[in-house]
């Protein structure tokens, strides 16, 4: 009798994913049995679960385990990115509860959805097969579509969810087509195998099918990281989505997109580096410039940060154009610091804005420096970090990204990046001008800072400052993480 032999599967690499998925399902069940209006405890459980997962992930540092016959891997690269996702999710959960209560949409599904998003992102980071990466991407995206439209009572939120879904589906088409073409050209979807197959081709850059596959995949990921000209969805979705979800989307999924893009380009297609770095050069310049220049004229602060987030994707792309150790480690470093500073900034926005997403303009920050000096100082730190001023994390991150480009001879790219960075100071400083140099236009009650939000702010401030003062700590981790790919 023939027995179907079941391969021995090492589950270690996806233990965190399993753990989070189970937790998410438990939370879903708990949600059903808890009365509406009493969902806060789900946030606490999620936070603890995320923290526990972080410990689990952190324990895998230094390990190198391939599993599912090379479809997923546990390596430092994946671990580093998973930490970023967990951090972004953890901070998001901390700032969500208060906001959702205020907007009267604290439905319990929020937390399982965030956790599923994290599961998807983790798969993207640890996937070493195009299929796994795609699977992760879809798990992430579908959850995000729901999260973007989570505030059912708000038209803008609905619009954001629908726009994101339609355009996301459109871009997924490109991505999947690209993967299919790549499979057609190489006969495999395993990234390591693709590398060896492409490596044996006599002239891979003349292989139209492979080239088209790569380009289409790149456009798919360009959509996810919001790189121009695939960025158009970003401002509308970021503005409409509930603010904590905007914070989350700008930090987590963007990093996940970079994780997958880095893995595919650097591991599977290093032989085509001339081609893809050429394209990325253009994308990086476009993205930085469009993001920054459009941000100059925004009055709505969420929209402004949406454009700023486009610009930041552009900076990170500079590191990928360089493609060397400094540049890629710079991306990891930057994504981590960006999670801190951006979510921190959004947390302040939540505190300043009022029910129904009103009070979300730059002018509404007038007088914050006198009324709530601590909040204003925190916001100043986040904005300084976003603008890339020393001694913040944002400065060091940009420094490594641009110095990576300079090392590889992309002087002009670095110059454009620095000029862009200089232009961006204008709109970040504008907020500060309002905070410290203008009187508040009207008296209104300031939202109380609850303990979880305070914790999130403290973590964010620390995360925006400490890597700027002692960069070597984080950078060494980042360098080890990119060493293996």
């Amino acid at each position: 009798m023939d027995m179907i032999s079941i391969p021995v599967v090492n589950m270690t690499p996806i233990l965190p994913e399993i753990f989070l998925s189970v937790l998410a399902m438990v939370l879903l069940l708990l949600n059903v049995f808890s009365p509406s209006g009493k969902k806060s405890y789900l946030a606490y459980i999620s936070f603890i679960g995320i923290a526990a997962t972080a410990v689990l992930v952190g324990a895998g540092w230094g390990g190198h385990i391939e599993s599912f016959s090379g479809a997923v891997i546990l390596d430092n690269f994946a671990t580093f990115f998973k930490m970023i996702f967990l951090l972004a999710a953890g901070l998001t959960v901390l700032i969500s509860d208060q906001y959702m209560e205020r907007e009267e949409c604290n439905h319990g599904e929020l937390y399982p959805l965030i956790l599923f998003t994290v599961v998807g992102m983790m798969l993207m980071a640890s996937g070493t097969d195009l299929m796994t990466i795609f699977l992760g991407l879809e798990v992430m995206s579908v959850s995000l579509y729901v999260l973007a439209g989570f505030n059912r009572n708000n038209k803008k939120s609905n619009e954001a969810g629908l726009k994101y879904f339609l355009l996301g589906a459109f871009s997924t088409g490109f991505l999947l087509y690209g993967m299919a073409l790549t499979y057609g050209a190489t006969g495999t979807t395993r990234v390591y195998k693709i590398a060896s197959v492409v490596g044996q081709m006599t002239l891979p850059s003349a292989n139209i099918m492979l080239l088209a596959g790569m380009l289409l995949m790149m456009t798919g990921f360009a959509f996810k990281i919001a790189a121009a000209p695939f960025h158009m969805w970003t401002p509308d979705v970021y503005e409409g989505a509930p603010t904590p979800m905007t914070a989350f989307m700008s930090a987590g999924p963007k990093a996940a997109g970079f994780a997958a893009l880095l893995r595919i380009l650097l591991v599977a297609l290093p032989t085509l580096q001339i081609e893809w770095s050429q394209l990325l050069w253009v994308l990086a310049v476009l993205t930085m410039t469009v993001g920054n220049i459009t941000a100059l004229r925004q009055d709505n602060i969420k929209r402004m940060l949406a454009y700023s987030s486009i610009a930041h994707a552009g900076y990170a792309l500079v590191g990928l154009v360089a493609g060397n150790g400094t540049g890629t480690a710079g991306i990891l470093f930057y994504m981590l610091s960006y999670a801190f500073m951006n979510i921190g900034a959004f947390a302040i926005i939540i505190l300043v804005s009022k029910k129904g997403e009103t009070n979300g303009n730059v002018m509404d920050f007038a007088g914050l420096g006198f009324k709530r000096p601590l909040l204003a100082v925190a916001m100043t730190i986040f904005l300084f970090s976003l603008a890339g001023m020393p001694p913040t994390a944002g400065f060091i991150g940009k420094f490594y990204l641009f110095s990576g480009a300079v090392q590889k001879g992309y002087i002009w790219l670095a110059v454009i990046g620095v000029l862009n960075s200089a232009a961006s100071v204008y709109y970040y400083l504008r907020v500060m001008v309002y905070m410290y140099m203008k009187e508040p236009t009207e008296e209104f009650e300031w939202t109380q800072v609850t303990a979880p939000v305070a914790l999130a702010l403290i973590i964010s401030v620390a995360g925006s400052m400490i890597p700027g003062i002692v960069p070597s700590f984080i950078l060494e981790f980042a360098q080890q993480a990119v060493k293996l790919i």
């Binding site: 355009l167 380009l215 000209p229 459009t294």
Partner: protein
Amino acid sequence: MFDNVWLIPLFPLIGFLINGFFGKKIKNEAVIGGIGTLMIFMSFIVSCGILLQMIGLPPEQRVFEKVLFPWIHSGNFKADMAFLVDPLSAVMIMVVTGVGSLIHLYSIGYMHGEEGFYRFFAYLNLFCMSMLLLVLGNNMLVMFIGWEGVGLCSYLLIGYYFHKKSAGDAAKKAFVMNRVGDFGFLIGLFTLYWWFGSNHNIWTINFTEIKAASHLLPYGGVVTVATLCFFVGATGKSAQIPLFTWLPDAMEGPTPVSALIHAATMVTAGVYMIGRMSFVFIKSPETMMVIAVVGAATAIFAATIGTAQNDIKRVLAYSTVSQLGFMFLAMGVGAFTAGIFHLMTHAFFKACLFLGSGSVIHSMHHALHKIHSHDDAQDMRNMGGLRSAMPITFITFLVSTIAISGIPGFSGFFSKDEILWQAFANPYHGGLNIVLWGVGALAACFTAFYMFRLVFMTFFGECRINAKAKSYLHESPLVITIPLMVLGFLAAVGGYIGLPKLIGDMFGGIPNYFEHWLEPVFALANQYSAQYAHHGAHPSHAFEWSLMGLSVVIALIGIGIAFTMYVQNKDLPGKFTATFPALHRAVYNKWYIDELYDFIFVNPCKAFGQFLWKGFDVIVVDGVVNGVANVVMGFSGIFRYIQSGYIYNYAFSMALGVVAILGYYIFK
């Protein structure tokens, strides 16, 4: 114990954080002052532990480096947050934490009732942390952090009474002058880093690594450039010609600040820096010459100004400048040990003098306040006869004055005499040695004169203060007098650890402990110096004795003149000024140096700034900036227009992008 060296700067940092953030809420002065003092005292205890452990080790093992964490690693550049513990830094941390603790304690009494009491202690702790970083850093960057940090704290503390315009101006002056020096420090750092890197592929700013590679350095040339730049940094921080005018103005700060920052610790940073890099400096005979000459010139120059000042703190300020000149003279003639030795003894007696003057001012202020008089509490012409009212202050002050004047048996004698002897016996500067010695000896004479003038005017004679106020004069509380007594004691006996060989031999061969202690630090520099300077025949003992005797006589002459002029025949000063009015005016007005600087630097700079602002900035810069801004804003408008909000537009732009990309790659 060595491993815990990081605790030394950590404690004051904690103190700074507590008092800085919560001091305003704590309010209780005893708690605030207690925390500040306790923190620096804990550092002192750790420093003692390190010193004791180091004494127990053989000299060649007395070096330890503690890497706290990797800090900046970028390409070839590598800087760690790391500390270097060796005999030199051990001396410095003992001085900083020891004298620092006493001054913190003193401040509790002195600053009592001041507005912003917590702010004072927070800054003072921050200063101590920065100073400790400066002396403990194992590379130039950590040292530079401390270097900048002490400059910042100095600025903050000089401007402590910020509502007074003069205090604000003095703070700015100190900061700007220090910046000039810091620029020199940075250029020196870059030069050395670049030279080692590009010529020998040794990219380092670490002192130990530079020391190990220092044999590669040439004599003169690039080393002269680098060391001169470093020396510019030192002149700024340590108030030497030409960057010394900020220090007298810095007396606008509270007196404990003058004692700690502007006498005992921060201003000696330049001397320490030269000592730390002695093996580099010694390789440039030219720089050594410059240092010696500048030191000697500053010593005599400041001493002359000190003779004509009437503000008690200003006399001490010029005295500090002058004494720092002695230290640089020592460094410049290669007598590194003597320079550091004088740094230490000076810390004792000058801190004591400043705190003593603070005690006097405190009492004067109190008395004048009681009778609602607006007389200047710091003007010595209002004082006199305070000896009976303030016996402890008087005795400690007198002991320190004797020490600084160079009377045998007191600490200042040993260190100053060593410097003068080395200035004479040094083989580096050819025939200049006699000039250096002569100038130094003359400065010592002036020192004795102005210091005893100060003592006679303040503590002797009859009291010139309003008779009503006289009854309110009283001795300061214990919290002020205890630090005075400890420092006075140290000022008296602190010199015995560095007995000159001549005297040591007389008493059965007592060695010069201090010299032996620092020997491993300066051994390499001494070795290099032997390669270009040939020590001539050693002068005879009789000659050394006679020089020593001569310097004592000189000091006594200075005291004698002061005694004649201010105790015996009080009409003499008036007659003197009447006979030489121009000379007196010039000295009294500090040789018009401030006016000269205003004329040469400040006014042209202001005019240039005015031009840049009105002419260049408003028309050219603003024009360009506004023009660019308008163009960019125009683009921004276009992009906004494209961002229509319609999904089909967005999808179209994506599709267009894909087509463009594919088309380019496939048909190129």
